[in-house]
């Protein structure tokens, strides 16, 4: 197993864990944590490919990761803000009860 494969596997695992959190937890904040985990897994992929890629001096993967970190930070801020707003209106962060958009 080459190093890259190892990193990719770890990334996949983290991604799956995050997805599991997002899919199964009832608390909105936990779902957000899961999403953050997924994003990080993606970042790990980017960095790994950059490291073992054919021409790392181009810094592409690195840049991609840095930008996605920045974007993820923004995403976290907004997401948590939304959770708090929802909580203020509905007094719950339980996703099973947040089905206002039921069709």
């Amino acid at each position: 197993m080459t190093p890259l494969t190892g990193y990719l596997l770890v990334a996949a695992l983290v991604f799956a864990i995050g997805l599991g959190a997002a899919l199964t937890r009832r608390n909105a904040i936990l779902v957000l944590i899961g999403i953050e985990l997924m994003l990080n897994a993606a970042n790990l992929n980017l960095i790994a490919f950059w490291r073992y890629g054919p021409n790392p001096e181009a810094l592409i993967g690195m840049m991609f990761a840095i930008f996605s970190i920045a974007v993820a930070a923004a995403e976290a801020a907004v997401g948590l803000g939304l959770v708090i707003a929802i909580y203020r209106h509905l007094h719950t962060t339980d996703l099973d009860q947040l089905n206002r958009m039921k069709g």
Partner: protein, 391 residues
């Protein structure tokens, strides 16, 4: 001769390492370095506690510790022993694990901060390319441990203290970073030794320290203030304001855990003043060209201790702020000023070196200082405080 005294520790490590087998040397080097640095700083910590108590006492016209040893010099040792032998009380409903982990993580984080500080010529533990960034990353991770401490001990005072501490740290981290970035902009590197080298050199016996430029001066001031807020020192010591919330986030800590918090706070102080010395005060460089014969590490620690003394002095002088004043100061004054300072630094970087540069930068800074002081710091009318919860 001066060379030897300057490099004495480097030579010493080299000599010791020469007795080790080849494959062991890197580890040996690491161990030696860590042990050395920790030893020095912990000793300094011990001295500083005594020094602080003495100094404060003098400022308050008391004697201070004067029983243990000459001038109470052994007081710190006595304190340490006391802390060690004391019973370690943990609240019943406390979250045991976090309660235990919090001080350790804090200590580890602040100690790692020391790793990148160049304490003398060729004397830096890890010469990291992104040293400054590492420093701030470690500093950021202290907040979590503070929160752990406050939350885990299930005590509203602790929680409030932790919240205050985190809010304050986050708010003041921004001016801290921005003012540091100013220095980075000029030095063109994040590696601390390189920053120091950028400040070495003299024009007829005056050093090239950044503090002697308009932006550097402003930056040093901002950095100093923000630093004292980062380390929860007076006048920003609300998180542990004894009179308001017993001791803030380490109310529920006793025995050696408390001592660890204590150590951590002081080590944090040391590290952050080391960084500010490195960034603005020429690191281990001599203040005047003809003083260069004195070893660099002496200069470094002298400067650090001066900073520490300033901290103590401020603590002895200023009263404590109120939470809203603290926040207003951070967001309405420090942040804009540091941003302006950043702009001024850019200006400085790109104007060619003549008196206009000085005039322009100084003028901008002074004007913005005055304007911000007049607008941002206008005294808010005192009214019953509005608390906003998220329910």
């Amino acid at each position: 001769m001066a060379q030897e005294t300057d490099q004495i520790f480097v030579l010493l490590t080299g000599w010791i390492l020469s007795y080790l087998p080849e494959w062991l040397r890197p580890y040996g080097l690491a161990v030696l370095g860590v042990v050395g640095v920790l030893a020095v700083y912990v000793t300094l910590f011990a001295l500083t506690t005594w020094f602080e108590r003495k100094g404060l006492a003098r400022m308050q016209n008391r004697y201070g510790p004067n029983r243990v040893g000459p001038f109470g010099l052994f007081q710190p040792i006595a304190d340490g022993v006391k802390a060690l032998v004391k019973e370690d009380v943990v609240p019943f409903r406390a979250d045991q694990v976090l309660h235990f982990l919090a001080p350790l993580i804090l200590l580890i984080a602040v100690c790692m901060e020391l790793g990148v500080v160049p304490v003398g010529r060729n004397m830096v533990l890890v010469d990291m390319d992104a040293g400054l960034l590492f420093f701030f990353a470690m500093g950021a991770s202290t907040e979590l441990s503070v929160f752990m401490a406050g939350w885990s001990s299930r005590n509203k005072y602790s929680l409030l203290g932790a919240m205050r501490a985190i809010a304050q740290m986050i708010s003041y981290e921004i001016p801290l970073l921005l003012s540091a970035v100013a220095a980075v902009m000029i030095a063109g590197t994040l590696s601390l030794p390189k920053i120091v080298e950028a400040q070495s050199g003299f024009t007829d016996m005056l050093p090239h320290w950044y503090v002697f430029t308009p932006w550097g001066f402003a930056g040093a001031l901002i950095f100093g203030i923000a630093a004292s807020a980062e380390t929860n020192r007076c006048p920003f010591d609300l998180p542990e304001g004894e009179s308001e919330l017993v001791a803030g986030y380490f109310t529920e800590y006793s025995g050696f855990k408390f001592a660890i918090f204590f150590i951590a706070e002081y080590i944090g102080m040391f590290s952050i003043s080391s960084i500010s010395v490195t960034l603005f005060f020429g690191g281990w460089g001599a203040p005047l060209s003809f003083l260069s014969f004195i070893p660099s590490w002496i200069w470094f620690f002298a400067k650090v201790m001066t900073m520490i003394f300033v901290f103590i002095w401020v603590r002895g002088t200023l009263p404590r702020l109120r939470q809203d004043q603290l926040m207003n100061f951070a967001w309405k004054f420090m942040l804009p000023l540091s941003l302006v300072n950043l702009g001024v630094t850019a200006l400085w970087r790109f104007m060619n070196d003549d008196w206009q540069r000085w005039a322009a930068c100084t003028a901008i800074l002074v004007v913005s200082y005055v304007v911000l002081g007049l607008t941002g710091m206008r005294s808010q009318h005192v009214a019953p405080r509005k608390y906003r919860y998220a329910e």
